[in-house]
């Protein structure tokens, strides 16, 4: 039987890993943005996400109580131990693909954190309150770009539509839950992700309508398994780069 503490340890890793992996992806744009302002915007958002990851992974490490730190969790776990959704590990692609990934994920994260603010557990609700403020403007920023690009030139429209098609099969698992969630929901420590789905769809519909983007069909193949450590091949390459330094030089400090 899983204890609350063990369930929260897993739950915090899921949230922390989502933020960490997307934060790393966005940081890959640093120095490569299409214009200076966007370069800075993506680096700023990467920083927010990595900060959120520190909060959640730091707390996960405390719950585990085995002497591991947030850095140990970030840098010394292998892909199979990462519990992020597959959406956030997808490669940057072009700017439209990056903004689409951020939009689809931020819409989910916004609703998730908004719900977690009401968690009966102070640390979770505190971290959620902090993260919610940041994710709110990530969603504003990415949705704004989806509209500009989707309702822009023929080429930008085409690229944005393609990004939606390419990423859609990773959206179903955003709402995946298992016994960890069930245990925590019962005690109002976490929230039921299924109930977020309608509102998530409304956000996507509203923005896609204005962006003249056609929402892909849900009946296609949908990936599943991120929360249990199943990932696409892309995560391994991402970790190889992100973890290189602490693995090659164990114990190195800034």
């Amino acid at each position: 039987m899983m204890t609350n503490q063990q369930a929260l340890f897993v739950y915090c890793q899921r949230i922390g890993d989502n933020s960490l992996v997307l934060g790393h992806r966005l940081s890959e744009w640093c120095g490569h943005g299409p214009v200076l302002e966007e370069d800075i915007a993506m680096s700023n958002m990467a920083l927010d996400l990595i900060g959120q990851a520190r909060g959640f992974l730091g707390y996960a490490a405390k719950l585990e109580d085995k002497g591991r730190s947030e850095d140990d969790l970030a840098y010394l776990r292998d892909a199979r131990q990462f519990k992020n959704c597959m959406l956030v590990e997808q490669p940057n692609g072009d700017f439209a693909a990056t903004m689409m990934r951020s939009f689809l994920f931020s819409a989910f994260a916004y609703l998730h954190f908004r719900g977690l603010v009401k968690s009966t557990y102070d640390v979770i609700s505190g971290l959620a309150e902090k993260s919610l403020k940041e994710v709110t403007y990530h969603l504003r920023h990415s949705s704004d770009w989806i509209i500009r690009l989707g309702d822009g030139t023929d080429e930008s429209h085409q690229r944005t539509q393609k990004a939606a098609e390419d990423l859609w099969s990773f959206t179903n698992e955003l709402f995946d839950m298992d016994t960890v969630d069930e245990l925590l929901i019962k005690q109002e420590l976490a929230i039921d992700l299924h109930v977020l789905r309608n509102e998530w769809n409304e956000i996507i519909n509203q923005v896609f309508l204005e962006a003249t983007i056609i929402k892909p069909d849900d009946s296609r193949y949908m990936s599943k398994g991120g929360i249990n450590g199943i990932h696409t091949e892309h995560l391994g390459f991402l970790l190889a780069e992100m973890q290189f330094l602490p693995r090659a030089y164990p114990g190195t400090q800034w």
Binding site: G23, E37, I40, A41, N44, M45, A46, L47, D48, L49, I50, G51, Q52, R54, G55, S106, A107, Y110, D122, V123, S125, G126, L127, E129, K130, S131, K133, E134, V135, T136, Y137, L139, R140, H141, S143, D144, I203, Q206, V207
Partner: protein, 169 residues
Amino acid sequence: MKETPSLSTQNIWDILQTIPDPEVPAISIVELGVVRNIEIINSESIKIQITPTYSGCPALKTMEDDVIEKLKEHGFSTVKIETIYKPAWTTDWLTETTKQKLKEYGIAPPQKLTLEHLIPLGKQPGQVTQCPFCDSADTKITSQFGSTACKALYFCNNCHQPFEHFKCH
């Protein structure tokens, strides 16, 4: 080390008030609202609670180090820093005096947070941001994101000066 008759909590607030924000040195970390609570355990040991402005603010570590160093100068050999997240930091904690200091430093201060700031879709709230140099309201935003997480980039159409705005958060 200085001779330290027992310091009161108020004395500690006054001491921390002298530590500048590493990224916006015109204001102190107390004025910024980062220092939340002070607990003197005994004459050698003290606990300070701080909260980050933005989750990933790289200046937080520097602030922690500055607090530890400053309190060690005042005789506290053990300084425990605890990061808290609740209540979440907001620019509404900046007083009018602090906002005036930002303006004098050349940064347009934050307006009061409104419900519009909490809506994730649609345009940015249509608040007027005055140029800190010429006070003109004829300004435009060039980017929501600036040189630090807490600032946005603006341009003044009147005095043709780019400037930074301390974002409402």
